[in-house]
């Protein structure tokens, strides 16, 4: 069983829900999907610097509430993102590893 992933409580964040809704609406209609990777749906503030996560990054971020492992997060996302599970899992792993290394995500037990 993998470790559960949680957001670093020092990171202040919010969802840009209107932007997220617009992107999802466009994707549902099969419109240009470049916005999903280029536009931010979650805003993070870390030590005074502001970052944004794109749609997939933002969804992973929201699911990182300490209750799910990487596999669990990928499972939850499979209903939103229509890609093979293995591919999604690899993407989630890559993202989570990146943010763990930055300290923005932490293992719940650590």
């Amino acid at each position: 069983m993998g470790k559960k992933i949680a957001r670093n409580p020092d990171v202040v964040w919010r969802e840009e829900s209107e932007i997220r809704d617009k992107i999802l609406e466009a994707l549902e209609k099969g419109e240009d999907d470049s916005q999903a990777s280029e536009q931010g749906t979650v805003t993070l503030i870390i030590s005074g610097t502001i970052y944004q996560l794109n749609l997939l990054g933002g969804e992973i971020w929201k699911l990182s509430d300490g209750s799910l492992t990487v596999e669990g997060i990928a499972d939850s996302l499979s209903s939103i993102f229509d890609v093979e599970k293995e591919v999604l899992l690899e993407d989630v792993k890559e993202f989570v590893d990146d943010l763990l290394a930055k300290g923005w995500l932490v293992y719940k037990d650590s």
Partner: protein, 364 residues
């Protein structure tokens, strides 16, 4: 659906609507002040303060719009009698609240009130390691000593504290000493604010502002000093820093290279509230775009022509030919507006000459 992952969007163009509301709101709770600093932007402003109930309404509006940070200033916020009540309410509502103070009114008892109200941090203004320079700039004898005492009271009470300084002619040559001084005070951060020609800052610009070349030299040196400083964060908040390679090569520091927006963050990530709830893009641009007691914040944020024009600048003057423009986005919009009356004009502090000419007329 798209599955491509980009963990962090390093740069999203400012013309895109990247946030649905400001991240941070600076609020001048009062324009009353026990000081009369040489460069104060608000000393000449007169506006009525809000009642407690109206101020609470403002806080509710900020929370409803998912604003994350509220920074209180003025004037001297400690002069506002309902300050702690308002801050407690803002904290209970989920806001991160900080405050800038000159520290003069801060004693042990006030420090504990600050702690109990739940402030996330307090910025104490100190412009120099030398009391004489600070007291002269602040036009108040003993203000340096009181500011140091304020830091001590706050630290003792368990409040996060940082030092805020305005870079000007009186202190720019002794930046390294100021950093050492700040470290000695045990603060975790030194915020260096660039000189703005607004309010008293405009009236005193000939004596206190630096020349563009001096700004270039100062920032070059400041970045060197910062990179060699340990144990303290040195924040340089000037968008014109994008002109310097060192700033570009220092990601994950103070929002310079990997900041979400280029150029000024005002009107793109932040807004300013006057004491009467008038909304301006920043404290240094005296253009009211509405009033938060009467106008909808989201509407102002998304449709204000003033904010739109700040987010979609058109390079003018030397910026038109400048390859650095895509990094600095014209520098500080407030300075351009204050001295040249045009958001799109080149930042008057800009030392970079895209023509390679030394002629003044080519460098405007």
């Amino acid at each position: 659906m798209n599955r491509e992952i980009s963990a962090v969007s390093h740069y999203i163009k400012p013309e895109k609507s990247i946030t649905t509301a400001p991240i941070l709101v600076n609020w001048a709770l009062t324009n009353r002040c026990n000081f009369s600093c040489s460069y104060c932007y608000s000393r000449l402003e007169k506006s009525e303060e809000l009642s407690t109930s109206h101020a609470r309404k403002i806080i509710k509006i900020l929370v409803e719009n998912k604003v994350l940070f509220l920074n209180l200033g003025g004037g001297e916020p400690l002069l506002k009698k309902d300050l702690f009540e308002l801050v407690s309410f803002a904290k209970e509502s989920g806001l991160n609240v900080t405050m800038n103070s000159n520290g003069y009114l801060l004693n042990n008892s006030v420090a504990h009130k600050i702690k109990n109200a739940g402030f996330n941090g307090i910025g104490i203004s100190i412009d120099s390691h030398k009391a004489k320079i600070h007291d002269e700039l602040r036009k108040t004898s003993g203000s340096h000593r009181r500011a140091i005492e304020a830091i001590r009271f706050l630290k003792k009470a368990g409040v996060k504290v940082y030092i805020s300084s305005v870079v000007c002619r009186a202190n720019f040559k002794e930046f390294e000493e100021l950093v050492s001084f700040a470290k000695k005070q045990g603060v975790e951060r030194l915020n260096m604010h660039n000189y703005k020609c607004s309010g008293m800052g405009f009236a005193n610009k000939d004596n206190l502002d630096l020349t563009p070349d001096e700004w270039g030299e100062f920032y070059q040196r400041a970045l060197d000093i910062r990179s060699n400083s340990t144990g303290i964060i040195v924040a340089l908040d000037d968008p014109i820093l994008a002109l310097l390679k060192q700033a570009k090569d220092s990601p994950f520091e103070n929002g310079i290279d990997n900041a979400l927006v280029k150029g000024s963050i005002c009107g793109k990530l932040t807004l300013y509230l006057r004491a009467n709830a008038d909304v301006t893009p920043c404290g240094f641009i005296p253009i009211s775009i509405g009033n938060l007691l009467k106008d909808d914040l989201k509407e102002l944020w998304t449709t204000s022509p003033v904010l739109q024009s700040m987010r979609n600048k058109t390079p003018k003057g030397k910026c038109r030919k400048c390859k650095q423009y895509e990094d600095c986005w014209g520098g500080c919009t407030a300075r351009a507006y204050a001295l040249r009356g045009d958001f799109n004009a080149p930042d008057p502090h800009c030392w970079y000459n895209p023509n390679g000419s030394n002629k003044k007329e080519d460098n405007k």
